[in-house]
Amino acid sequence: MENFGYLLDGFQVALTLHNVLFMLLGVLLGIVVGVLPGLGGPNGVAILLPLTFSMDPTSAIILLTSIYWGALFGGAITAVLFNIPGEPWSVATTFDGYPMAQQGRAGEALTAAFTASFVGAIAGVVLITFLAPLVAKFALRFGPAEFFAVFFLTFCSFIGMGKENKAKIIVSLALGFILAGVGIDTISGDMRMTFGVTELMSGIDFLVVVIGMFGISEILMTLEEGMSFKGKKAKIDLMVVLRTWAELPRYFVTFVRSCIAGIWLGISPGGAVAASFMGYGLAKRFSSRGERFGTGEMEGVVAPETAAHAAGTTALLPMLALGIPGSATAAVLLGGLMIWGLQPGPLLFVEQKEFVWGLIASMYLGNIVGLVVVLSTVPLFAAIMRIPFALIAPVILMMCAIGAYTVANASFDIWLMLVFGVVGYVFKKLDYPLAPMVLALVLGDRAEDAFRQALIGSAGDLSVFWDNGLVTSLMAISLALLLWGPIADGLSLLRTRRPAAAE
């Protein structure tokens, strides 16, 4: 139970007035980020990250994770009131959330969505509390070969589990790795892939790429559809909240099911988007009211929101314990750790106890703060959506430019942001997944270092990747995940063919 003691210490860190104020500020900013199209979790965190460079790391990460919670909550507001998913993971929320709003039950839909988010997030945090220290302790035995194997596992599971076109996932990953390699090579001192451009010597910062790919491209996508939003009105008072809460225990099984789906997809990098669809799909299939889904069932709001938040939260587990993020936003937060001078990975739990447990405690508190704030301020944020987009869009673009510039005080980065904005737009139109690229970009250097160190240690003998039980099993799981897609396809083909043959 020593961890429990650390957690209590963590609460003492997180509960200082200073940090609670940061939580409040973060949640509010996060909701704005979640509500506005064109600003999302990864992008919002990326823009604000440079402002935290000089802050104390614990406060900085509390601020940034709170933005993440706020963005997770905020996505539901536009989904229910405007039928516009503010974030990709709230697409499934629109299926039943918007019909409820049309029937004048917007307040109930929002209360259900927020409460479900809260439950999902807390389930994820509880898991992190108990599992992360164990995983980290286990990972302390890892050498470079094992670490490379874990990186390899992450990338393989992206390819194997991803729903997108496999070739496009591979393109996205390889491109991320190549971009990560641009600039001076840390081991040999060679100049790599700069093609004579001096500005590229210091490398391509992933924050600039994130701001371009998630921010600029999102604005371009939104503008395709024109510039007006029409929304429903929502009134949330204490009565509505209490009435909804009284109804929610009925969906206990849905909560549990969605939590499990979300946690599973959060640890494997399936992400919140896949989780929300899986949560919705499972509830539709197994619920007794499943047939009425899509017509304004509260259960259809609860299921995806719970799963999305459980996934969004557990995505932070591998980031904390192994230094491997499970989502794009977690990747940005991980980049933050490195900038604040903390080395992500299992040693964090040994060397930076106060930071880690302060962060975990702040996850509990941040979500409580988030729930209270979001329930009490819905009308305010719904009003943001009524500000004309012709004013919102240039302000967001300006924020993106400022965010890109402040990463390294370089004007060249603003140009890079623009280029990646266009790349992101094209990639989105053609269904290239963006998250693997960001992940590879953040992890690229470390994966490469682990690979090279392992090979240097073994004098170039590739057998270092299967010379002990641990690394062999990691590699075996990776390959299994990599090939899971084709195997599963083959199995389902067999299964569908057999009944057909029997006819």
């Binding site: 496009k168 393109v171 390889a174 892939m193 004013l391 400022i402 004007s411």
Partner: protein, 171 residues
């Protein structure tokens, strides 16, 4: 399982003219292939083999080979793709009507500084796409850069690009 999204009941990609998906897929795959070749050239130039450990081009070269292979697959898939419209001309026009001013804005940041450039950008955007009264445009395009200046330069002490106007005022 297919989930219906009630918003897109009328699919504009089947009724309106625009860029064909097949063409865009192939062009993008070809560009990726060219990039992969460029990286391969750069890596082998420096050495992508082995001398007392992997050389600096070792890892990028392997990634570039993977990228090249995947790009070829995407290209072939693109050739076989159904001829659907990926973006309609009307949508593309909307996108460019933002992308071009944005490029000018980024260009202007280098000369005017971010605050003055933003003021013009905000005003231009509001005039072109909104239906605001003149005082609203004036207020927004003056106040927003001013507030930004206050937050970044005064509160966070993060210097942003400045131009002749700020120099004249002594910042």
């Amino acid at each position: 399982m297919r989930l219906e999204w009630p918003m897109s009941s009328l699919d504009p990609y089947e009724t309106e003219p625009g860029l064909s998906r097949r063409a865009v897929e192939c062009v993008v795959a070809a560009l990726l292939g060219i990039l992969a070749v460029a990286v391969l050239w750069d890596s082998y130039e420096r050495g992508a083999g082995w001398s007392n450990g992997p050389q600096s081009g070792f890892f990028p070269a392997r990634m570039a080979w993977i990228l090249l292979a995947a790009a070829v697959v995407v290209f072939v898939q693109g050739l076989r793709a159904e001829s659907r419209v990926v973006v309609t001309w009307a949508q593309l026009k909307q996108v460019f009507s933002v992308l071009l001013p944005l490029t000018v804005y980024v260009f202007a940041i280098g000369y005017l500084g971010i605050y003055v450039a933003s003021a013009f950008f905000l005003a231009g955007f509001m005039i072109a796409f909104g239906s605001f009264r003149w005082w609203a445009i004036l207020a927004a395009s003056v106040l927003i850069p001013l507030v930004t200046f206050w937050v970044f330069e005064m509160q966070f002490e993060v210097p942003l690009p400045k131009g002749p106007l700020e120099a004249m005022l002594g910042f």
